[in-house]
Subunit: 387 residues, 4 copies
């Protein structure tokens, strides 16, 4: 058996828990070229990180992520820390010759993202790999969408309709957590939810967003402070963002991300219409994909609800018999599987940092569009998106 | 233009209103070989039938249905009276040389139904036509089901699953209307709802039910009397009936009809599984038909929701553009259209009285099965079912 | 019984057939204050209009709509002619003292619409009524939406999401019909489909669209000519239009209308999220309304699929028992019912011409926004929308 | 920290893989009273079990399950072997003082099941626990169903409608695997699928099936042998089973289990109607539960699609935020959690062996009913079902 791939993870909150579940599982479900070892987890509080290591299954722990850079028993650094820490950790890790998996969005600014791309590029020649964690690409139904589009099942694409709807901020007494403060979170629904549907639609269609026109809104403008002393503070990020866009050559699109869509819990929904057919995905029914084909017998056409649980569907041969569903966490296991395979094969994992920079450029254009109430052309990163 | 077909209708309650809507409409929507004229409506109360004639659009009215038998200006008698009146009216009408459309179930007993079949047979030679009104055959999605089964899209049929679920008796304070008294209604959910799914599944599959094993239940055994003096009376019909059945050669089936399925308003649902595919219909979404085909590309299989509103779908060329739905009443217009066409062409409309007798034989077998808690073989009427 | 209301209809194509079905039916289903008489239909070709009169059930016919203006036996003129004829006919009819029902969109330009509003206003004092035919307001589920919003079931509205998706132009060999030529049709998907969702969302929320930012696209830029000689011609209208909008005070919205949404036949879909709940409507399931309430028990919350077929639901007491669906044409019967009631009562039917002008102002703003790639503020007509 | 609970598992095929995923995960997701250790896996082939131990994460392995009985480092024996081995292993394990988790169905005959119940009873006094693995009880939506029924949300139960539909035998060239031979598998769809819906409906309603009337069918009577030499063999189990049943006092029910329901992959579906409401569950959408309540406002009633992903829903506080789905394997993690808790607390885990015997008694009655074409009363085990 080859040398194991030893992982050091930074951060252990929601994303850290999801990544840990993936690292614990991937060895036992997929036939990996190298085994994965959960070596160490890093966090700021020594006591808390020790408890997290125990609960999440990491062999060791540290309260200083920098120690990971010099440890010889860490091959890959998995960044689950908040967005404002991404650039510093990723650039240092790549410089130290560690592979990097960085959660999305890649950075809090285009400038940071550019530096990260440069760092990844510099490290690439010495065999170091970098990948950004847009996990929704690894929903089997989403991967199947991409495959079907690539195979031409939709013909020429005309329409993209994407929304990511949640409702956890509808209650005005919900406190002013860090995600609602621009200086920490960068943006609100835009970076948190919008980034996912931007990446996902570009991934599925293999087209890039070229221009956007956006509006944002903050419905509840001040909220109770989460900690004492009592009081209220200003919400400085968007509660909701909507934008029109053009992709590729002649595709029209609409996007919406919000935390105020009452009744929608994790409503990531994408519909694509082409000249030969259409595909619809809704994460709240993540094991399903709806497909309409104009090539079916005329009287039998309609949307087909494909249960994406067959062994021939992407990622599914590792799991259960048909009709036995998988869940949210599996997308991270699939991500780990793809990354480990790429590292072992010396190939380039996707989405690359350059792909993630392209998403960042769209986020930036959306922000500027909303501020100026005008259409903004999206700058292209020099690198072409990879699939 | 040919001579008009002049209709006399007996009864003007729920069914009479639905039939009237059909007679008013069919001339204006379909290109009929002969025009239809709404000549006269008959009922027991002179005042009430006069008001009904006015409201429903009949040229004349009478409080004695027998007068229709001798009127030279009535060609067709449409029987919408309660079931215990069917046999007498139909037999007299046929003897008088009038075409007959009789609402379902054909009769309240097998004996009556046999007499009606004999009367229809006797009148047939002189060009008189008889038809039973199982309107659900004329839902476009149901007609499409039959067409697809006939075309072999399902292969060999293995399973039939049929239920007709309503909930209007759930409230125990609902009064003891005539439909809950055996001496008037014959049976409860069985004849009212069960008859429909028996006919519909036999129609769609072109197979006959050969044996049944049933249970019935009356959940609320006494109810308030509907009229003064106050008091309660015994419910003497079934609130619910369930039965297993065998159809044709090796098909297994289950049936259920109930007025106690909370939340189901008119839930007539049929699923058929064959060796090559499956079809699912639910009346609460009557403009849709779900189809699964094992012949579709493997990774794209699933249930396709066909919106049965294309001009090439049965009956639909007369109506609106695709995606513009039709409703319950349209099934009666389609029925009127088919009947008028058959009369004009001198062909045999379906379902014939013999088809309806076959349903009656199943109803009878179900009743006896429930009484005896045993399997009962369904007698075959001599006539073969017609499509 | 009061004097009948005698109708003269102009035009007898798709809309004329739908209106005729309504006029034929409304007397027999609703208890009207005055009976309706289908007096005369007008069209350009004498032979064709005579055949239409016969098929659709009109007592008379004429090849000159102007004769309706002077006939004493016509009380109401129902305009189903193409949009470029609306203004001339409506203004003349109102001046002649005839009530007017005018199909949507009210006109092909804001200027025309203003003249029509002025004409309606002038005629109003002498008891003449004018109404625009946005029939989707009369879908029971849509009327229920409005009622629930008015009752406060959604709390403060935050999001409106509206789309009207069809796919009949996906095939590039579909010919260049008049609807695809700007000089006749005014616009493409915008006026045909967009007008409906603009009116519907303003109706349901009782809010007006104040600003828009739009894009339009023509995917297939030339098409075969529909008649000889063979050849192709340029499509001069929009195949699709998307726009962002703001309504009232702080509501954000997105709209889309297209004829290229493969698989969508008549997909008029509206979702509204408020602080206390959400409502979702989809015309392809027009008998259903989905409602989410944050006031339900916490563990039992979700979208409730209400089957809008109860007698207490708007317009439904006239129809069939619960669970027995109605169809597209019923919206016109409801419209006729409301209009006849208003005329008889001397009250103002809705939507008024002023309401329809407000829709026209939005259409105009959308067009200018798409041309200039900028946000456009929607002008307010002086009149307030009526419900 | 308390002593760990050390598990030895027998069998490592489909069920063994699912149980292993649960044992690997439960420590890291739930806050357990004692940690779980995956000590040893047993199988018949030394090489194969060694590979399985490595892949599934077991510390040790053995080719003789009997060695587990005497090992001091094994506290719990988890039986994932085929049904004909259950009784021998379970009885030996209990006699050796090991806790036992035994996959369903408990045994291949009532006689075996009775012996197992006796063994469990004998061991109980010395603190040894026994549980049968009906994992579908641990679907959060199913647990919520039971909670809602218990809380009275349905009122008096009237109808139970249960089916478990798969389609993997539709292709007649599918080979004659051991599951299709009675001498090994005991029965076909009945024991494999029917057992689940029998247990699930009894669990949710807290009622027992008292009488059944069944039919079974084998559609494809011979199949290719799975191994050389080529040839065909007879299928000796049921492809499909349907039965009517009575539960408790006056509840009527229908059950169906089949491997020939084209298009249904793992369609375990249950609908329950009571006097106050209804619940519907479909495993193919396992994160959802549909609830109808007659106590909701009249015009807003309908089936509510509850997304069972809130932290207050059963088992869900350990997982992801609302709207982030879980999958099939989670039911085993929940089962492990409940079992470990019961063992640590010294309480009785459910379903007990007595509960599982009750299911076996129903299976037996169903078999005899199908053979005799008659109603069969279900014998009651002396023990009352536990929840």
């Amino acid at each position: 058996m080859s040398q194991p791939l030893r992982v050091g993870m930074v951060g252990y909150a929601f994303m850290g828990a999801a990544h840990s579940q993936a690292w614990r599982t991937v060895n036992h479900v997929y036939d990996l070229p190298v085994p994965v070892r959960m070596q160490v987890v890093a966090g700021r509080s020594a006591a808390a990180v020790a408890a997290a290591a125990d609960r999440l299954g990491w062999a060791g722990h540290t309260d200083d992520w920098r120690t990971l850079l010099t440890r010889g028993d860490v091959d890959l650094i998995d960044i689950c820390a908040p967005g404002d820490a991404h650039a510093e950790i990723a650039i240092a890790a790549l410089a130290a010759g560690k592979h990097v998996l960085c959660e999305k969005p890649l950075a809090n600014s285009v400038a940071e993202a550019r530096e990260m791309v440069a760092a990844a590029s510099a490290a690439h020649d010495s065999g170091v790999r970098a990948m950004c964690g847009f996990n929704y690409r690894r929903v089997p139904a989403v991967a199947l969408m991409r495959r079907m589009v690539t195979e031409g099942r939709l013909g020429t694409i005309r329409h993209v309709r994407a929304s990511y709807l949640q409702d956890w901020l509808v209650d005005p007494s919900y406190p002013l957590v860090w995600r609602l403060r621009r200086e920490v979170a960068g943006s609100g629904a835009l970076g948190d939810l919008g980034a996912h549907i931007i990446d996902l639609t570009q991934f599925v269609t293999d087209l890039s967003i070229s221009a956007v026109c956006a509006l944002t809104e903050t419905f509840v403008k001040s909220r109770p402070l989460p900690s004492s002393p009592p009081g209220t503070g200003e919400v400085t990020v968007d509660d909701a963002v909507l934008f029109l866009a053009r992709l590729g050559d002649g595709v029209v699109a609409s996007y919406e991300a919000t935390r105020f869509a009452t009744g929608r819990k994790n409503g990531l929904r994408v519909e694509i219409n082409g000249s030969l057919g259409a595909l619809v995905f809704d994460f709240e029914r993540m094991n399903e994909l709806s497909f309409h084909s104009t090539e079916a017998p005329a009287d039998e056409q309609g949307f087909t609800r494909v249960l994406v649980t067959e062994p021939t569907h992407p990622y599914m041969s590792a799991w259960w018999p048909p009709g036995h569903l998988i869940g949210y966490e599996h997308t991270f296991t699939h991500q780990a599987y793809d990354l480990v395979q790429a590292i072992a094969a010396g190939s380039d994992p996707a989405p690359s940092f350059a792909d993630a920079l392209q998403v960042q450029l769209v986020l930036d254009a959306v922000s500027r569009s909303a501020e100026t109430s005008s259409w903004i052309t999206v700058e292209r990163s020099s690198a072409e998106p990879s699939g």
